[in-house]
Symmetry: C2
Subunit: 518 residues, 2 copies
């Protein structure tokens, strides 16, 4: 069955009420009965929830074959906890048929790739899939298709009961002995724990893992003790220095800076750019750099941002410190500057993934967003964006908040160079649709700007401001002229991943690429 982005979705994937993507507002106003955890009552006075080891916590929480465990990735490439836990479950306890429910998967969790190859881990539900894990899944080694969701789609799926978490293992920078936990005050701080909070509410069992035990009560906390069964203390939960990876760098590439400047120009040309506007950037080089160009326009026109949303970097914190941003609503921190800033500034707030982007609650912040600036691995002439698979068809990306903010915002701007190496970024048809074209408004490249024809209002705004723009077809032609028409990928029949829209409908599938070799 074809969906609204023209992808064929096999009937076998449309079980248990699953539907195909039918446009960005298809689910609006429909009711959902939320799922809920099966929780252990604590009636007696308690002395402590401390366990001697992660294994003891696993046993107390009834770890078993066929279970689903979750973890968050606020520590990004510096996360130690997911691997520790996977090792205990698989190697120490010998469990099998395990499903992983992660906010992302990358090099820090590489051991999971091995367990997938060994058939111990048979299911993966995640936003990002990068590195070795992406390769083994792309090679067809996972027993069932990986389910890839956006940051808003994840809490939606948890609340819908499509992911029921048996045990959530949540790395926390500090915790007291009862599990009041947060991302600051420890020896390895991640700042916001917005990726972890929702799991603590919906998992049957929650284990807090920390390297810095503090006095009770550790308040205000991100994770409340009422949701925590066990607390484990380990030497190090992660390497906070690795949180800031190259994705979060501020670019000094002149081509990226030029694109960033053009993005700011586009923003300033729209009617949404007025006092009290709201804004989010992704972590790509040119996206982050938009902050610095936007500042000039804000000062010139004497306007302030009401809130900056999502993943947070020092750049936006500095804008707040200058008085240009009223509130930062922070789901994760990309660098030490942001980690040191959250909770220090009275209006730099932690929010969780449901507040951020869940399209099945009563109004996530993305639904109030004016502008979002996002990157892309590919974008096609229907404005569909791929941030999941490389041009070789291998899983190596993450939708993250991309589809959520694109759908919710009034003006979604994609910024990307026209080509990367020998690959066209703008193309006839993206390998994988992560964000549907009906959510994307403007494309800014190093070879020109294109506006989605659905947004004639924005076209008029750009014309009025004297900002030149072309059709996306012209940009694609230019890209093909520069690097050639991309070769068609050759796929096996096997579906190795399902890409869900933020509302739970099926947006696309990823098949196994052939011939595929490491």
């Amino acid at each position: 069955m074809k969906n609204a982005v023209n992808r064929d979705i096999l009937d076998e994937l449309l079980k248990n009420g699953k539907e195909v993507y039918q446009g960005k507002y298809y689910m609006d106003g429909k009711y959902v009965k939320k799922d809920s955890p099966k929780s252990k009552r604590q009636v007696k006075p308690q002395e402590t929830k401390l366990c001697q080891s992660i294994r003891e916590a696993c046993e107390r929480c009834g770890a078993h074959d066929g279970m689903t465990f979750s973890f968050h990735t606020e520590f990004r490439d510096g996360d130690y906890v997911a691997s520790m836990v996977a090792k205990v479950l698989v190697e120490e306890m010998g469990l099998k048929d395990i499903t992983v429910a992660a906010t992302s998967l990358g090099n820090a969790q590489e051991v999971i790739a091995t367990y997938i190859e060994e058939g111990k881990i048979i299911g993966v539900q995640t936003s990002g899939v990068r590195g070795k894990i992406g390769e083994v899944i792309s090679a067809g080694k996972l027993a069932s298709p990986a389910i890839i969701r956006s940051h808003g789609g994840r809490p939606r799926a948890v609340e819908a009961g499509e992911v029921h978490i048996d045990i959530a293992f949540l790395a926390a920078s500090t915790s007291d002995i009862f599990g009041n936990a947060k991302g600051v005050g420890g020896k390895n701080n991640c700042g916001s724990m917005g990726f972890a909070v929702h799991d603590s509410h919906y998992a049957d069992h929650t284990v807090v893992i920390t390297d810095t035990l503090v006095g009770f009560p550790n308040l205000p906390s991100s994770i409340s003790a009422i949701d925590v069964d066990c607390v484990c203390v380990v030497d190090n939960i992660g390497d906070a220095a690795k949180i800031s990876t190259k994705e979060a760098r501020m670019t000094d590439n002149p081509r990226e800076l030029m694109m960033a400047e053009n993005v700011a120009k586009v923003i300033a040309a729209t009617p949404y750019f007025k006092d009290g506007f709201s804004f989010q950037t992704g972590v790509g080089g040119p996206s982050l750099a938009v902050n610095r160009f936007l500042e000039k326009y804000m000062v010139d026109r004497n306007i302030r941002m009401s809130f900056a949303l999502g993943g947070t970097s020092s750049a936006i914190c500095e804008l707040q410190d200058k008085g240009l941003v009223d509130h930062i609503l922070d789901t994760q921190d990309f660098d030490q500057g942001a980690i040191n800033h959250i909770f220090k500034h009275p209006n730099h707030h932690e929010i969780d993934l449901s507040e951020y982007a869940n399209p099945a609650n009563k109004g996530a912040y993305v639904n109030n967003l004016d502008f979002v600036v996002l990157s892309a691995l590919e974008i096609d002439t229907s404005f569909n964006v791929n941030v999941i698979t490389g041009s070789d068809g291998v899983l190596r990306g993450a939708p993250g908040g991309h589809p959520d903010t694109a759908a919710g915002s009034k003006c979604c701007i994609i910024v990307t160079p026209l080509t990367r190496g020998r690959m066209a970024t703008v193309c006839d048809e993206v390998v994988t649709v992560a964000t549907p074209g009906d959510c994307v408004d403007v494309l800014v490249t190093d070879y020109g700007i294109a506006v989605n024809p659905l947004r004639q209002d924005l076209i008029a705004n750009l014309d009025e401001a004297g900002i030149p723009h072309v059709t996306i077809q012209e940009l694609k032609e230019k890209a093909y002229e520069l690097v050639g028409v991309p070769d068609k990928l050759d796929w096996e029949d096997k579906v190795i991943a399902v890409v869900e829209s933020r509302d739970g409908t099926i947006l696309d599938v990823v098949k196994q690429v052939k011939p595929f070799s490491f």
Copy 2:
């Protein structure tokens, strides 16, 4: 069937898995599958959730015959919102067969008594029942027995699905247009909104009612916009000046002060009185006065309180400002001093009823409490306490956090005069059991102190400290000697209220008193 406090519970009340009270730890460790709301998805960008009227909000949220609505009573005797809403549902919309789920009911909601008499409101689930509402229920005018629960029992019942709230109407001192709401910053402030938070998570629909609309985002908030369907602005949500009623006064009665001093002596004689102890008082005059005597012992021994729990008054805020209390964990504020203090002191925190006392989560704060000082309408020689019915058998009280803190704390002290008017407070058998005797450790009266024989350790502590004590039988004899043996109440067969233990088992029933006249 007799329960563990020797009360006969009719079989007809033991449906749907209901059990009789079987001791304070009976439910410990048992699993519960939590209930959850049926929630309306908001996928589209939103402009506002403001409604023109409460009626419009009711209609948008599908108000219907047979529905259950809830509200909180942080404004105590100054609450306007519950009555406003009840009038809209019953008088404007003409709905019938309505159930009320309240954190308490008193004079501020008197209109509900009329609707009970008229048969429009057919069910009541509450903690407190005072004033006219208590009288009409006691007169048998409610169609089904009222269900009376403690503050911890309420969130437990909601999570168990025993109370499913169709619409929660939550008074908030401030809100933005999307429903981020809190109890400070407005023209009528209640401080903590700890009674409201849990409802916002579990109700199918949530309506925030405020008299002070503020800019978006109103953060940090007590109620999150993701749980809110509608926002209504009214002239006044309440009269904050009426929050501090006589229950919250600081006594100057010498007899009460003497009892308070003796309570402090008992506390200081136990091994739990050491640096980092935790403490809660009720709102009765002598209970509140304990704070001032405790201060002396704390200073003398150079010890500090790690946390003060529960309803909060200026007295404990002043102790915190003097550096004697590390944290205040605040479910409701009893006076303006406390309202002005919460959120100003960095360690004066709002907590919700589930964090406070829910015995079905993974560890409420009451389970970590060292001392609680509570009042009583009656206490019997089995140490069972009545805080629900007057000596005439009419509903005129509230369990509140009484049973929760008594059960969770290491040392529960009841402080009460031996007689009130011509009534014995210490008696053979309380009219209604609100807090079972196995949760009560010490009784302090103006005629002496008695220790529960279950607590031989505390008896030894008092002996060691040279604090005289007698048996509770002796206190009862003294009371009867002073005011005579109480007359037996004459009951109809009709059960007008069921008193649930905090764990959901049935502790007692209240029958209709005969002859009964107003």
